[in-house]
């Protein structure tokens, strides 16, 4: 295990940011800390980096007890949401900073900076100032800067949070490819479940300071431990007394056994999918289907329909859940 977090607690005044968090992050993997804003995931990342200190608990990095080590001695690379560039230094100088601190020979630094700038596709910008770069380029520079010191773990705090949707998607793919190339143990914080599902080898879902579930993206999606994880990783709706995904509901226009009868109240087309609201005796249910399917069923407002879960659909009991829409 590359990072071991044991019994971590952290409060800011009355606010409990982390309560008894235990996580093991394996070497060489790309892990996402996923959860809603204010759930404690950034705090966990900052404690691993030594930028915040825990009230109690321990952090071990690569077998070294790091709980009380200052950030300078942890050998972690940290990438911030808002880039944290050194404004007065050129791109090359930014990347070289960590190596200069370590008093490496000049030739070695130049070579390493060159190599890293090529890796993040910024070679032609080496002598520009960060102010002359776009947001995506600045974040790539920040990544190169963090990688320059060959950290044992790379930590990214909402690295694409400040970028627009398109650049964000590009950088996400690029991070995945970069990780396959460099293989450094990487942990990144995100509140975007799509980002986590697409990029990560493993996802740690954190909510209200607690770890809700740890697992591979598919495991989390198919076998959520509870209604929170299910609700956070994708859309859910309520059908009778279970929660399930809106696309996991079979709709028929004639009565079938074990199905719940209802009446269509709204049909909304969003691009390739059709979202159908159905009023049942036990409340409203949302069904999502393809446009072709909706057309073949001939659904319209006020039509009578019968709903049941598709065979093999992931469901969790709805009792006591606050997540139903």
């Amino acid at each position: 295990m590359s990072i071991e977090v044991r019994g971590l607690n952290k409060s800011f005044g009355d606010f409990v940011a982390l309560s008894d968090v235990n996580v093991s992050l394996p070497t060489g993997q790309l892990t996402a800390l996923l959860g809603p804003s204010g759930g404690g995931k950034s705090t966990l990342l900052r404690i691993i980096a030594g930028l915040d200190t825990a009230d109690s608990g321990s952090v071990t990095i690569e077998g070294v007890e790091a709980t009380h080590l200052p950030p300078q001695k942890r050998n972690v690379g940290f990438v911030f949401q808002h880039y944290a560039v050194f404004k007065h230094m050129t791109v090359a100088k930014n990347v070289a900073f960590g190596l200069e601190i370590r008093k490496r020979p000049k030739a070695e630094i130049a070579e390493k900076v060159d190599e890293l700038l090529r890796l993040v596709h910024l070679s032609q910008f080496a002598h520009r100032l960060p102010a002359q770069l776009s947001g995506g380029q600045r974040q790539r520079m920040a990544l190169a800067r963090a990688l320059a010191v060959e950290p044992s773990v790379l930590l990214l705090d909402e690295p694409f949070g400040a970028l627009d949707a398109k650049v964000r998607k590009e950088l996400r793919d690029w991070l995945r490819r970069l990780h396959d190339e460099v293989h450094v143990t990487t942990v990144f914080v995100t509140h975007d479940q799509e980002e986590a599902l697409e990029v990560a080898d493993e996802i740690v879902v954190i909510n209200e300071g607690r770890v809700e579930q740890v697992g591979a993206p598919d495991t989390l999606y198919d076998e959520p431990a509870n209604d929170f994880v299910m609700g956070f990783l994708g859309e859910i709706t309520r059908l009778g007394d279970v929660l399930l995904r809106p696309h996991d509901i079979a709709v028929s226009t004639a009565a079938v056994p074990d199905a719940l009868a209802g009446r269509v109240t709204r049909v909304l087309r969003v691009g390739f999918e059709v979202r159908v609201s159905v009023e049942t005796p036990q409340g409203e249910t949302l069904v999502v289907m393809t446009r072709t399917h909706a057309r073949s069923l001939g659904l319209d407002v006020d039509a009578a329909v019968w709903l049941r879960p598709e065979p093999g659909a992931t469901t969790v009991p709805a009792a006591g859940s606050s997540l139903v829409r």
């Binding site: 030594g50 300078q72 940290f78 911030f80 944290a84 601190i101 800067r145 963090a146």
Partner: protein, 300 residues
């Protein structure tokens, strides 16, 4: 991605040689690299604004300055040099410039530290201190002199009598210039992102290195601006010094007092000559500070 400013310029045809008959000027134009930004971006409204600004600036600053220089040169260069060669005048100039420089250096250090404490630390009475800093600004300078006299004068409760000495000059200048560096550095320090320092720390930089390579370069423009203000105020100070320094020739007489003496004696030309020297000193210091700022900001 490919069109840096240099490239874009190179693709453009060379500017046609000016048809001007002035040969020297023409050669100069041809040798210059092609211009990539237009010479002027003025629209009609902006042109009017610039005209207004220049008129106002001329009436208030340029014309009076030119008048001073003209008056100073009225009686020829030898007369001009005579004024400066006068021992008493020269003593006043060196005292003023020397003490102003000393006070500015002290302000740069102390002012930055005070700004740092006000921004980065939390302590009881911080809000009060923040307000008190401006008192030397707000006080009429003669009152400042009185205040200092009561603490450091002949009846000092501290038992130090610095009245009518060079210490008094230093004290008075330090008192009235204290807020400048604090007030210029403070907002910049507040805007400084904490994550930049955290990034440096996680890259292995210690406190001192972060301060020297990350924080100071970011603060340098503000510090030099504060230093320039502080120096300018110090060489022009009059009110607080009248009471405290005693205006003793060769000891505690500063330039502004010397200029007043010239004027009172009806010696306009000498006053103007001395004034023009201080003008040159002020210009030189502003240029010097600008050079220093560029150097430090680039160092990183």
């Amino acid at each position: 991605m490919t069109s840096g400013p240099g490239l874009a310029g190179a693709e453009r045809p060379a500017p046609p040689a000016s048809p001007s008959s002035d040969g020297g000027r023409r050669r100069w134009r041809v040798r210059r690299s092609p211009r990539t930004t237009p010479r002027s971006t003025l629209t009609r409204g902006a042109g009017l604004g610039l005209g207004l600004a220049m008129t106002w600036f001329s009436l208030l600053v340029l014309l009076p300055l030119a008048a001073i220089v003209a008056t100073a040169g009225e009686n020829g260069v030898s007369r001009y040099l005579d004024v400066l060669r006068n021992d008493q005048t020269w003593a006043a100039v060196t005292l003023t410039v020397g003490q102003a420089a000393l006070v500015t250096i002290v302000n740069v250090v102390v002012g930055t530290v005070i700004a740092w404490v006000l921004v980065r630390d939390a302590f009881p009475g911080k809000a009060l201190l923040n307000v008190v800093i401006d008192i030397p600004f707000a006080l009429p300078t003669i009152v400042a002199g009185l205040v200092l006299l009561s603490l450091y004068g002949p009846k000092s409760p501290l038992g130090v009598d610095w009245a009518f000495t060079r210490y008094a000059v230093f004290l008075a200048l330090a008192f009235v210039t204290l807020p400048f560096v604090v007030r210029t550095v403070q907002p910049v320090l507040e805007e400084l992102d904490a994550d930049v320092e955290e990034a440096a720390a996680s890259l292995g930089a210690g406190r001192a290195t972060i301060l020297r390579r990350i924080v100071l370069p970011a603060l340098t423009p503000a510090i030099t601006a504060g230093a320039a203000l502080s120096f300018a105020r110090a060489i022009s100070e009059y009110g607080s010094l009248v009471l405290l320094s005693g205006n003793k020739p060769f000891a505690t007489e500063v330039v502004s007092v010397r200029v007043l003496t010239f004027i009172e004696n009806g010696n306009q030309a000498s006053a103007a000559a001395l004034a023009s020297v201080m003008l040159a000193v002020a210009l030189a210091v502003i240029v010097l500070l600008d050079v220093v700022q560029r150097r430090v900001a680039r160092r990183g």
